[in-house]
Assembly symmetry: C2
Homo-oligomer: 394 residues x 2
DNA sequence: CGATATCCTGCATACGTTTTTCCAATCTGT
DNA sequence: ACAGATTGGAAAAACGTATGCAGGATATCG
């Protein structure tokens, strides 16, 4: 109701001011003369321009532009008047026009391999939330099915004027994409870990997965397991921080490292690895590259009569929402990708000349969440029970 | 090879033509005179404009525009020459400029409550894939935390010139957002089901969940269950197609309907519902509003000594990727949200005046995927076993 | 009180594209 | 061969915003 009334007033105000200065309208709307009924045509979806605001406030539209862009050379009185007019008219700047005129950063495009994998989806959610706070638009482009040779082209396509880039470089495709970004494009990235030796770019963010994997592996070792096996997530440089952390813990404990299986992102990979591992009775503990893998592996273990955690302990990575409802509930390393997304966008903002920033952007810590899938090895208590799984076929 | 040669010729052509006509360049680049070194400044991220293409092809830049927009009044020879120049220079039209000049639809913004819930993530993936095929940009905006009163404002903010809208209206917030979209904005939507009685908008798409829920319920009934209970997903109008289908199957079978629990989207809700249901021995079959709910419910059942499927059968909805790796593997109703996303975008495209379209866009069918969580009730075979779950605490 | 520095504002132009208008060239039919 | 019809291509005006430049107003100082 209130807003309804407000809008009516706006209309009145506007028509009252505009009517007597028909000439002014024509002059103001486009430098050379123009059919004077221009005002009547303004009923499109984005009807109010800075010119309308300027007219309402009684200044030239350039001054309005200065207010919007927080130019220092505007008197407080003018600024307030313009701001009031902006609020009054519910003006929102036209993104396309700003971009065209070389305005400041006002959008991000996220480049990622997937939207449905948990880590990616959560990161996107965090980024979106952050963009909303500062009025940025968020675009999205997938890297799926892009051949390495075509990556340059794919990245180029994602670049728009007045728009930054956030690359989720958790996987080979993402990392390659990151390398393909021209240096002049404002870019931030979520990476697995900074390259060894090099000082990481300030706009690259990551969670310390090395330490987390090491701690998780140590946790299993401390439980009494002889060694720990690993099913990694995909990588392209021969290792991942998760794998490296696992290896480091094993070395530190002076223990012979377990097997490294073939890795992937999905439960299928975990299932395959589980099938292979289940056949080997000496396998009692597995650190999985992510929770999907862990879930698939657990399934394979059960199918082969290996009880969890009695016969084999499993630890996942990420803490997907359903991990705690798995059966048994999955012990895992929680990673707050949403928070990391926020941080990443904050870094991008710091790159831009715009004085914008968002609140609450601290790099999250990984954290071991102990639930039910990890316990002492059977040898530490009694013989393996190898109880068959609770299936209908039992 | 042929095209290779062609390109070389173009290059020669170009340098020969451009060099001697420095003045022409200046004239061409901006109507009033301009510092003639403008060409030197062109080393930004989007360096090549239609003017560059025109110069390379030997035509005016307006002709290039016509070729791009497939205007009929361009000779084949001219078109080919321009197209060659475009390929040569790797020209890509500037989205902002096209939008500003009132060009055709070239972007979509997806409005949805969540990115991480499976159905949403999959739909987004489908939409993204489809947008890529026709060179559209894809934006994304979340509805999370938007109060109903603020919805209009939130939707308005998501509207950009030359950009359509896709609303994922599976939930109350999405449905409200859909209502808030001004009629002049090209919009398509994914909905739960068309409103009863009304002819659905041609740009609204949905999967026949009613039939699927009915079939799933019937499947349980045919297995010998006395009745089926239901844990719904959230809704605002008192029902959902899934719930209605469930009820219809029960009515058709002349069976007293089971309980309708309080619903939500996540496993937590299913867990709570499961806790309540597990206490009632007469509960032998539950249709869940989605797979997360089913997983949470299964967990609650196990914790209370109710074996699945021996004591209670469970059917989920959606077929999330990890459903088949759950333990027992979840019987569920598969829904191809990715395909639905494609279809939705195809509908949006049909709305636009642009003659664009994408391949492979048929509304997907829901499909019951029989796995391990549904079986005949214990009464149909013998007494309930109530075997304790395979936990460490056992 | 006048001069100078400072601050604010308006003017003109640019951004890359679409679109409308218009003219020239080509083709058709007789 | 000529009038008319048709077609191909060019010119110019938008679209909404940003910004360098210059001029005007105001404040400060001598």
């Amino acid at each position: 109701m209130g807003s309804e009334q407000c809008r009516t007033e706006d209309l009145c105000d506007r028509s009252q001011r505009v009517e007597p200065t028909e000439a002014e309208v024509a002059r103001d709307r486009s430098q050379p003369g123009e059919p004077s009924d221009a005002a009547l045509v303004r009923d499109r979806s984005q009807p109010v321009s800075i010119r309308d605001v300027a007219r309402a406030a009684g200044f030239s539209y350039q001054t309005v532009s200065r207010v919007i862009n927080e130019s220092p050379n505007v008197s407080d009185a003018t600024r307030d008047a313009v701001l009031a007019a902006i609020a009054e008219l519910r003006f929102r700047p036209n993104r396309a026009a700003r971009a065209l005129a070389g305005g400041p950063l006002q959008a991000v495009t996220v480049l990622a391999t997937s939207t449905s994998l948990y880590g990616y989806a959560a990161a996107i959610e965090g980024i979106e939330e952050a963009t909303r706070e500062v009025g940025f638009a968020m675009g999205f482009r997938t890297l799926k099915g892009v051949e390495p040779e075509a990556m340059h082209e794919a990245v180029e396509r994602a670049i728009e004027p007045a728009s930054g880039l956030i690359v989720i470089a958790f996987d080979p495709a993402g990392a390659l994409a990151l390398e393909c970004v021209p240096p002049e494009v404002p870019t931030a990235a979520m990476i697995q870990a900074p390259a060894a030796g090099l000082t990481p770019a300030p706009s690259h963010v990551w969670i310390d997965e090395f330490a987390a994997a090491k701690a998780a592996t140590k946790y299993l070792l401390d439980l009494g397991h002889q060694t720990v096996h690993h099913v990694p997530i995909p990588d392209w440089s021969g290792s991942t921080p998760r794998l490296a952390g696992w290896r480091a813990a094993l070395q530190e404990a002076g223990v012979q490292p377990g097997l490294v299986l073939k890795g992937g992102w999905t439960a299928e990979w975990g299932y395959e690895a589980g099938l292979a591992l289940a056949k080997q009775p000496e396998v009692t503990a597995v650190l999985c590259g992510n929770d999907e893998i862990a879930l698939g592996l657990m399934r394979a273990m059960y199918e082969n009569g290996r009880a969890i955690p009695e016969d084999v302990s499993v630890i996942g990575f990420d803490d997907v929402p359903y991990a705690r409802f798995a059966f048994p509930a999955l012990t895992t390393v929680r990673q707050d990708f949403k928070a990391l997304g926020r941080v990443c966008f904050a870094r991008l903002l710091e790159l831009g000349e715009a004085g914008l920033s968002i609140g609450h952007a601290e790099t999250p810590q990984a954290e071991l969440v102990v639930r039910e899938t990890a316990g002492p090895p059977a040898s530490a208590t009694e013989g393996s029970s190898a109880r068959p799984p609770p299936r209908a076929t039992a």
